[in-house]
């Protein structure tokens, strides 16, 4: 009911802004009222959309990228990663320096963003195309920028965000050690303006820098911590030797603006992203069977080589 009032108000507000066209506008508001009666259900959906838009202006402006994992999407405002915003990804333990699991998680997100170019800025080029391809990110989509300084990377990210769609970009990602709040705010504003998603992969030189930076605030929309965890050995094969099972990540949502779970941090254990960039809950944890995105070709022949 209160929603209907809101709808009526909007033409009135417009009316005040344009007094010269008052006759025309009041006519239009009449039309709106009459159609409201007949199409109330459709209007309600539009209204919900509108309220959502008011609550999360950035969220609705450029869309949402769901993880397609109900448990994760449930806690994210809007039901997924907000596009046109900054998202921070950090590693865990020794991986805070190597940034491997974080890169894999980021690659999965980038893979699902569409076919455009990804501007990937890092200090020394150590990305490996075939490895990224396994998470669905085609290496041909990446334009790599290698500069040894954080401020240069931040500048490149901002330029990328500014060029945005014109340059055919869908996302920018930077591997940054020190991220001052001002810099993250600038990135966030540039991302909101352009609608391009910015991922900030925190990668620290050593334990000292990690300890100093880990707790620093930032204005990123979300902050994720990704850790590789021991792979799952199928329970029905007790003595599988020393082979590696399905690799897994522990995905932690450390921070999330405008919503999020009741308990911090929210933790999921997922199987690493597949060739379409999707993560999924392991079969024994999910309330549904592990369901690969693409048809399975059956058990893989895993002979030991050599």
């Amino acid at each position: 009911m209160s929603g209907a009032v809101g709808l009526e108000r909007i033409p009135l507000a417009r009316n005040r802004r344009l007094p010269a066209e008052s006759d025309l506008v009041s006519q239009r508001s009449l039309v709106t009222k009459s159609s409201l009666a007949t199409k109330s259900i459709a209007s309600l959906a539009a209204l919900r959309d509108r309220v959502k838009r008011l609550e999360h202006p950035a969220a609705m402006a450029h869309g949402i990228l769901p993880f397609d994992v109900a448990a994760i999407d449930r806690v994210l405002p809007g039901g997924g990663l907000v596009l046109g915003a900054v998202h921070e990804i950090i590693g865990h333990g020794g991986d805070e320096e190597d940034g491997a699991a974080a890169a894999g998680f980021a690659a999965g997100i980038l893979a699902r963003l569409g076919a455009g170019i990804v501007l990937w800025c890092q200090k020394r080029p150590d990305l490996y195309g075939p490895g990224l391809a396994a998470y669905g990110l085609d290496p041909a989509r990446i334009v790599l920028v290698a500069v040894p300084r954080d401020d240069a990377i931040l500048w490149a990210l901002e330029e990328g965000l500014r060029a945005g769609n014109r340059a055919g970009l869908v996302a920018v990602i930077g591997e940054i050690g020190r991220l001052p709040v001002v810099a993250s705010r600038r990135l966030q504003l540039a991302a909101e303006r352009s609608g391009i998603t910015a991922l900030v992969l925190r990668r620290w030189r050593d334990g000292g820098e990690a300890a100093a930076e880990r707790g620093q605030p930032s204005v990123a929309m979300t902050r994720w911590r990704i850790a590789a965890i021991p792979s799952a050995v199928p329970p029905d094969l007790p003595e599988i030797g020393r082979w590696i099972g399905r690799p897994r990540w522990r995905v932690e949502l450390l921070r999330c603006r405008g919503g999020g779970p009741a308990v911090w941090p929210e933790i999921w254990e997922v199987e690493t992203a597949d060739a379409t960039g999707h993560v999924c809950l392991p079969a024994e944890l999910a309330d549904r069977p592990a369901e690969p995105r693409l048809p399975d070709v059956g058990p893989i022949d895993r002979r030991r080589a050599g």
Binding site: G93, G94, D95, E97, D98, G99, A100, A101, G104, A115, I117, L119, P125, L127, Y128, G129, P130, G131, A133, A134, Y135, G136, D138, P139, A140, R141, I142, V143, L144, V145, A146, A152, W155, E159, G160, A163, R166, A167, G168, A228, I229, P230, S231, R242, W243, I244, G245, R246, P247, R248, D274, T276, H278, C280, R293, L294, D296, V297, I300, G306
Partner: protein
């Protein structure tokens, strides 16, 4: 046509000379007008000069500095013509054919040049003539304070008649020889038979005479590269504000692009020169990833570097010169040689912009190549330097194909998994293993100990025998293992060398899995 000027120290009340050490004596290198009026001349020993003019002020001559200053001045003269060069130790030559009309005629050009040089306190004499030799002669032997002599090609012989033979740019010995036989003026050489002159005084003397009269062409090799296209913007008042400079750059870019668009060309290299009123020139040089003629983009490239320009007291001219011009069809909007995903997108302007600030080598693409050597299968290639032999690349090989990918441990049943991070060079680790063919059960990498919980492998990768550095390399045969440590982190290790060999095998970490 050529003009030249001669510099001297600004006039003061006291006579002034620079001195240079030569053969254990101090000689005068240059003298100012007051000293010259007192009878001093370059080459005179300082002791003699002091006896003539007791109050002579001196300073050490700096020939290298003088040369550098002359080169700078020559560069500054680039505002009149792209063909400028320092001439000897005391002159600058300028080829102004086709440039004079921009200044309202040759006389106006000479007057403008004279005015600006005077303002910089550069003493000068200017002459304009149809040949380089004649201009040289007139500037040094005929020019007076009242305006520069301007001699068109058909009147060169008359103009040179009264000048001494030294005006022919001859070596002193030849001049002396000419004077000894009574030939003192250039006019006296005209009736002489050419072959007799050449026999007596050498071929070069006859050639000098012909060059001066314009019968023998004499090309001018300019200072630096000559631009293909060039646009200039001059200001009535010098400007120094960065915003103004940026606007000037934008205007010039538009002017240049206008011409390029008409010709269907794009530019690869640009030089934006800021001519300061003190005679220095500040440059911004930029390159583009592909031929370009988007004025906004070019202006942006310059704007990114404007903070490196020191306008000094002000900039009076801005000159935009285009080198390396290439055909640019209106519809072609692709990076040369770039991958399919990048072709057809508008990424090139962004690449240029990043390249201007970060260096052109900072921007690269991951190129997938058909090689089973891990570090050769995916290479970061600097944008613009991609390999042309595309047949080596098998696109789509690594992309998921329906029915072949399972979303499982093995991303593709055809290929064993690969790490997301590959170290630029494999790092040696301290490893402990039991049986010869086993992966290590413990290893230390970067001072961190890892206990191996699970391992997959080995995957044997041998060097490509057809490459020169092929099979004889130490780690020609590598056995790769994917290992998972107690925490769950996965690494890509390899063992170099075979178990049964004399040298113990060594272990390396080559990559980190996500």
């Amino acid at each position: 046509m050529s003009g030249q000027s001669t510099g001297a120290a600004p006039g003061e009340a006291t006579p002034f000379a620079t001195v240079i050490a030569s053969g254990g004596r101090l000689l005068l290198a240059a003298v100012d007008p007051i000293a010259a009026a007192a009878g001093l001349m370059p080459g005179m020993p300082l002791a003699d000069a002091r006896s003539f003019v007791p109050g002579l002020a001196t300073a050490a001559a700096e020939p290298a500095e003088d040369r550098a200053a002359l080169t700078r001045l020559a560069e500054w003269c680039g505002r009149y013509s792209p063909w400028t060069a320092p001439d000897g130790a005391d002159g600058i030559k300028l080829e102004i054919t086709g440039c004079a009309h921009l200044w309202g005629g040759e006389g106006a050009l000479a007057a403008d040049l004279a005015g600006r040089l005077s303002r910089q306190h550069v003493g000068h004499r200017i002459a304009i003539a149809g040949s380089l030799g004649a201009a040289w002669a007139l500037a040094r032997f005929a020019a007076s304070a009242s305006g520069a002599p301007i001699v068109p090609s058909d009147r060169i012989r008359d103009a040179l008649v009264a000048l001494p033979v030294e005006a022919l740019r001859l070596d002193p010995a030849t001049c002396q020889g000419l004077r000894r036989v009574g030939l003192k003026r250039i006019g006296e050489l005209y009736p002489m038979p050419r072959d007799a002159l050449a026999r007596r005084f050498g071929e070069s003397m006859a050639a000098r005479l012909d060059q001066a009269t314009g019968e023998l062409p004499e090309p001018l090799s300019p200072l630096g590269e000559t631009p293909t296209r060039r646009v200039r913007l001059s200001f009535a008042e010098p400007i120094a504000d960065t915003a103004d400079l940026a606007r000037a750059a934008e205007r010039l870019a538009q002017d240049l692009v206008h011409r390029l668009a008409r010709e269907g060309m794009g530019v690869r290299r640009l030089d934006l020169g800021f001519h300061r009123i003190d005679g220095r020139v500040e440059h911004i040089r930029v390159g583009t990833a592909r031929p370009n003629r988007d004025p906004a983009h070019l202006a942006k490239l310059f704007a990114a570097r404007l903070d490196t320009v020191d306008p000094g007291l002000g900039v009076e001219d801005v000159i935009l010169a285009a080198f390396a011009i290439e055909r640019l069809e209106p519809e072609q909007i692709a990076l040369a040689g770039a991958g399919a995903a990048i072709e057809g997108s508008g990424i090139a302007p962004l690449v240029d912009q990043l390249g201007v600030k970060l260096g052109p080598d900072a921007i690269s693409r991951l190129e997938t190549r058909a090689s089973h050597i891990p570090e050769r299968a995916s290479v970061a290639v600097v944008v613009g330097k991609e390999r042309s032999d595309k047949h080596l690349v098998i696109p789509g090989r690594l992309r998921p194909r329906s029915g072949m990918t399972s979303g499982n441990v093995e991303k593709s049943p055809l290929k064993p998994p690969r790490p997301v991070r590959l170290l630029m060079s494999p790092e040696p680790i301290e490893a402990f293993w039991l049986l010869p063919d086993d992966p290590p059960f413990r290893f230390v990498w970067r001072r961190r100990r890892h206990r191996v919980a699970h391992a997959d492998g080995p995957e044997r990768i041998a060097a490509e025998w057809w490459r020169p550095e092929g099979p004889d390399k130490e780690d020609a045969i590598r056995d790769y293992y994917q290992v998972e440590d107690g925490e769950g982190r996965r690494f890509w290790l390899f063992r170099a060398g075979l178990p049964g060999e004399k040298r113990p095998p060594r272990w390396f970490v080559h990559g980190v899995f996500a």
